[in-house]
């Protein structure tokens, strides 16, 4: 078993770890990964020379699209407005997120979650402030995680987009999605939440691009707070349940946007596939599974007396759910097809 002595030995060996809370124990060609917060994560036995292992290990632990723990730690200040960091930051990578939250962790994993920093702040006779910084690996993932929660409350000017309500500030910038929260609001604690959020957003630095699919969607059609961006069917089902199976063939290479229309509160789903061939295959799956009784035009009045239809245009699939009239829904898809690239 790994222990502190082993940790010290590995550090004394000069292993160049980019992972502040993790060390590697080298014992007779065996690598044991462990962290200061968790017991041994895994043990691997190698037959290769150790010099190769050092290189592999360093590469494996510092993927280019994620930030090291020590770098993440620099995103949060030690104190703010009289609140002090009350304990060392905690870090969770990949499926370790389930040690911090149960089923809700699946939402972040569905958005490509990479690493989480959790930092608590305390001040005597004041609310505890909890900070969660999710390194989502890519800006589109962070944007998606933000849209998954958007609509909670008023927008505020922090990061690339932010909302604050009832003690919870959420925002995204670059590849980070951030939550700063207190359980019970008061003026001083709320100011601290905003200042902390602003400091973290500044520390993150650069903005990230918004998925290009967003640019083809006319904003006047829908309520912005209903916009959800995703690429996994599990997230689609959270916001609008379509089917237990992935009948739109969503995956990491697709981009999808779900919005609720201002006009009749129907739902519009727009999906971009890597190729027109993949779009056509997804369209065929959806119509076969969901609209087997539709007419050739691809429209059906479903059991709730509303209209659902779907069309495919080059590498895009468009679907409208629960439209009040067939004519309006058909006009909408026709309009979108004209403006899509």
């Amino acid at each position: 078993m790994a222990d502190k002595a082993a940790l010290n030995r590995s550090v004394q060996c000069g292993v160049n770890l980019h992972h502040k809370a993790t060390a590697v124990c080298l014992q007779t060609q065996r690598l044991m990964f462990f962290s200061l917060e968790n017991p041994i994560i895994s043990t691997i036995t190698f037959k290769e020379p150790m010099s190769s292992i050092f290189l592999l290990l360093t590469l494996a632990m510092t993927p280019s699209d994620t930030m090291t723990y020590s770098a993440m730690q620099k995103l949060v200040p030690a104190s703010i407005r009289g609140w002090q960091a009350s304990e060392p930051a905690r870090f969770y990578s990949g499926r370790e997120i389930f040690q911090y939250m149960d089923g809700a962790g699946e939402v972040y994993l569905a958005y490509g979650f990479s690493r989480l920093l959790v930092q608590r702040y305390a001040r005597p006779q004041q609310e505890e402030i909890l900070v969660e910084i999710f390194d989502m690996g890519l800006p589109r993932n962070a944007f998606g995680a933000f849209t998954n929660m958007q609509g909670r409350g008023p927008a505020v000017a922090i990061g690339q987009a932010a909302e604050y309500k009832s003690g919870l500030l959420s925002f995204w910038r670059g590849r980070f999605f951030v939550c700063v929260m207190i359980d019970n609001e008061n003026e001083e604690a709320t100011k601290a939440v905003f200042d902390l959020g602003s400091r973290i957003a500044e520390s993150i630095g650069d903005d990230g691009p918004i998925p290009s699919l967003l640019h083809v969607l006319p904003q006047e059609l829908f309520e912005l707070q209903t916009l959800r961006y995703f690429f996994r069917h599990e997230i689609l089902n959270i916001h609008f349940y379509v089917a237990d199976k992935n009948i739109f063939r969503l995956n990491e290479s697709t981009d999808a946007v779900l919005v609720r229309l201002k006009s009749d509160k129907s739902h519009l789903l727009l999906i971009q596939y890597p190729s027109s061939k993949e779009a056509a295959a997804a369209y065929a799956d959806f119509t076969a599974s969901y609209l087997p009784d539709a007419r050739a035009e691809g429209w059906i009045q479903t059991e709730n007396k509303k209209w659902t239809g779907c069309s495919v245009h080059q590498k895009y699939v468009l679907a409208v759910f629960d439209a009040v009239t067939l004519a309006d829904a058909q006009n909408l898809l026709a309009t979108l097809q004209r403006i899509l690239p």
């Binding site: 499926r95 389930f98 939250m101 149960d102 089923g103 809700a104 962790g105 699946e106 939402v107 972040y108 998954n148 929660m149 958007q150 609509g151 909670r152 409350g153 309500k165 009832s166 919870l168 959420s170 359980d183 089902n237 959270i238 916001h239 609008f240 349940y241 379509v242 089917a243 237990d244 199976k245 009948i247 509160k265 799956d285 076969a288 599974s289 969901y290 479903t302 059991e303 709730n304 759910f321």
Partner: protein, 295 residues
């Protein structure tokens, strides 16, 4: 796709027949099956939570005692507890400590006091949530008491008594697929099967809507001021779900299914056979405040 898929339209067909959209396929029209009928007690008190959200522990204790005596058809709560625990039992009280909506500490202590009054030694009682797998009392538990608040959940639709047992598995993600549809299987784990003597679903200030993981907003809670008590976790959850769905319809002023749809309650009956989800087969004994009961 070769495999058939359950779609939104299947739900619409079921719920259209019941004139309710979004009940996740829990039939309201099926005929009660005398062989499978379940009972729950729903007790409410107008003042157990005040207008500022403050809990009145004394009223809560009285409500809980009354519900126990009614459910177990005894003269008082003490006699009810004697029906479900014995002096030699080792009792684990599975609570829920979610920071925004936890099981009230006062209720946990009432339960512990009542169990000790039966003759169970204090060292043989534990109250725990996330630490149950490493809790030595839970490891040797002969009886379990399950208590938690009802709330909307971003992955399973709702978190109720069925979901409260996910901490009994060392690998909770195994139960996450398909909106946690197989939570009922938890109840067949060796540490659980046959041990649960009581399920208490707290409907004091249920959360009926959430946006995102661990999202809590008082806007999406209301003072229902109720407790649902039973021995069937599926029936208890099915009744709680019906109530918060009704509240969603009132709040959003349209049919607004849980997001994602709740699938694990029906599956707990139909696939795992651990209780009754069919509301028509559940007898609800109503006590106390009746206004806006929503069911």
């Amino acid at each position: 796709m070769s495999e058939s898929s359950m779609t939104r339209r299947d739900f619409l067909r079921t719920t259209a027949a019941a004139a309710v959209v979004g009940t996740a396929g829990i039939s309201l029209l099926a005929q009660p099956d005398a062989q499978k009928k379940a009972n729950v007690v729903l007790i409410r008190h107008q003042h157990v939570v005040d207008s500022e959200g403050k809990l009145n522990p004394k009223i809560l204790e009285e409500m809980f005692d009354e519900s126990m005596a009614t459910f177990f058809r005894t003269k008082n709560a003490g006699d009810a507890w004697k029906k479900i625990v014995k002096p030699g039992d080792v009792v684990g009280i599975k609570t829920n400590v979610w920071r925004y909506l936890r099981t009230p500490l006062e209720l946990e202590q009432v339960m512990k006091t009542r169990i000790m009054a039966v003759g169970v030694q204090e060292k043989d009682i534990a109250i725990d949530d996330r630490g149950i797998l490493s809790n030595p009392v839970f490891a040797r538990a002969t009886a379990l008491i399950n208590v938690r608040p009802m709330r909307a959940h971003n992955w399973s639709g709702v978190g109720g008594c069925l979901k409260n047992y996910i901490m009994f598995t060392p690998n909770p993600p195994d139960y996450h697929p398909d909106s946690c549809i197989d939570l009922g299987a938890l109840w067949k784990l060796p540490a659980v099967e046959g041990k649960t003597r009581l399920n208490v679903l707290l409907m004091l200030t249920p959360q009926f809507h959430c946006l995102g993981p661990h999202h809590f907003d008082k806007q999406f809670t209301w003072a229902y001021n109720g407790i649902i008590v039973g021995t069937d976790p599926v029936a208890v959850d099915a009744v709680g779900l019906k109530i918060i769905e009704a509240q969603r319809k009132l709040f959003f002023k349209e049919d607004s299914p849980m997001r994602p749809p709740v699938r694990h309650i029906k599956a707990a009956e139909e696939k795992h056979g651990i209780g009754i989800a069919n509301l028509a087969a559940i007898e609800i004994v109503r006590l106390g405040w009746k206004e806006d009961s929503l069911i």
